[in-house]
Symmetry: none
Subunit: 191 residues, 4 copies
């Protein structure tokens, strides 16, 4: 049973972690997920060492920052399958949520594709969570005859993720339009 000092310490650590996640989230929006470690530490009002203690690699930090939203998105798949008028509509809605997530988090989509080996773990986490969710909807749509595509859930997610890259800074490019095109193509896939 931990004594009071330990509890105090743990409470402090928890507060630090929370501050860190907030700071990192803000920094990622403004400067991308490659934001300098120092900047994040400064925003959070902690030393850089504290970041390294709690999040040894950058990927650990990024994963932590987006974990909640990723989990919510994964969970929403089954909800949508239950509530939407059709599997196809559920897919549209779910992808819409995915685009929301990526477009809001400036630079996240790009970071996932940056090729930086240090971000591999991040990549893996996203895939592990989201691909199965997407696959469930896709299978339902296939079973319902609403698509004949053989494109995998993984491929679909990668495609949508890619389409969102750079969408924040470019007024002439609307990620949603082209994602809609892609989904239409999915519905009318070759017999």
């Amino acid at each position: 049973m931990p004594d009071a000092g330990t509890n105090r310490r743990r409470a402090d650590a928890a507060r630090n972690i929370a501050a860190l996640l907030d700071a990192a989230s803000a920094a990622f929006v403004q400067a991308g997920v490659e934001a300098p470690v120092r900047d994040i530490a400064a925003r959070a009002g902690v030393g850089v060492g504290t970041i390294y203690r709690h999040f040894p690699t950058r990927a650990d930090l990024v994963v932590a920052v987006y974990r909640h939203q990723v989990d919510a998105l994964a969970a929403s798949a089954d909800v949508l399958l239950g509530s939407a008028t059709s599997p196809s509509a559920a897919l549209d809605a779910w992808i819409d949520g995915f685009v929301d997530f990526l477009v809001t988090k400036h630079g996240l989509a790009g970071a996932l594709r940056s090729g930086d080996p240090g971000l591999e773990a991040l990549h893996a986490y996203f895939l592990d969570e989201l691909v199965p969710a997407c696959a469930r909807i896709l299978d339902a749509a296939r079973t319902a005859g609403q698509t004949t595509t053989d494109v995998s859930a993984y491929q679909l997610m990668r495609a949508v993720g890619n389409l969102c890259i750079g969408a924040e800074n470019d007024e002439r490019y609307d990620a949603r339009s082209v994602v809609a095109l892609l989904l239409r193509g999915l519905r009318y896939a070759a017999p």
Copy 2:
């Protein structure tokens, strides 16, 4: 003949430039278009100063590396419109060539979206060359009633470009499949 010396010298310089373009091309494949200047110089067996002499900015170098292929692609638009069985088929073929280009040049698609201001000139060059070419085919397809989409040539190219990002390192992701999906969606655009 006073030009002899000049020409001879130019021949040497030309050889260096060629070596540089080869080296840069290789470096771009392995390390992306942000490959360190020093590394490129070393590969080419020249000093860094030589790079700066011929290509003052990184964009100059990247443009030079890809210029031929970009020009050829731009020129192929009209050829395809004349030879293909339909504007729609011409579009498919042209986009196919575009995908070829991007997938082969590892990291180029990503670089075009890196947001680095120093690569703006590069971005502009690609757009200036390719968007009009794409627009001509898209217009022909529209006139022929083979698509009703209002997606701009710019958006289409950006979308295809994005879909190609990271395709070379990922066995589970096939850019051509999803590009095909996108083009199918284009054909069956909302009435």
Copy 3:
């Protein structure tokens, strides 16, 4: 007492800063105030980053190196006005101290005139501190009728500063002699 760690750390940093100031001082003597950052760091046995941390610009470092002496010189003006037999004698003594300072710090006088924009701050600091001090003595001398010159304190300091340039490397040139000449001219200014 939570400050212990902080203080201890500060003691270390202070030692580094001191080493840095010593090293910079020595480097300035040998290679001028434009001495390479690397060299200074090496002399001090620290990494270059440490210099940038404590002294973001070169001017910051130079100012720090000479701050004490500049401050002491500025403060000595009033002391001398109180203790010397006349304002004129005070001026002689103060200028003597100024020459001491400049001649000892090899290359400083030259650096102040190098025109390097990065050294502007340094220049400003020296002027802000010393010109008012000099002006007080000059005014006192004028009030006492010991000079009728209309040369400003700024001009006088610039002149003396210039006269000290290069004095340390030249056996045939004695800055004090010519400064004495200048001060004599000041006393016997045109009737």
Copy 4:
């Protein structure tokens, strides 16, 4: 007896040298005597190699650029001694001409004191020419009882040269005023 080709070549070379001196002179005014070799070559419309052929060291070039004026100044000493109303007036006039020279040639005074070993030859040339000239006037003044100073011609020239450093860029500093002060001090030197 040189053949026509040789003459042609010599004529070309002479033209190049002239262009080079003009270009260097202009460059020195704008960027100081440390102006980049390339810039000077470009101004002159020649290759950098041509500069190195004719002026192996920077000092050679600087000396060549100012040789005419230095010679004229040296020669003017005896003229002034003959024409001026007194040796003292001749000294004033000669120093005035020296100041003219230094203040017009931006940065020259500073360059002479830069400590750059490559400029030693330059320094020597100036001294060899001008110190004897100055000494002749100074001796005459001494003989006429118009000064009792024991300051050497070398020291006087160095002092005046120093007083001119940086005078071009500083509205608050007037080299002539302080040079006048120095000369006044010279006249009223201690008995």
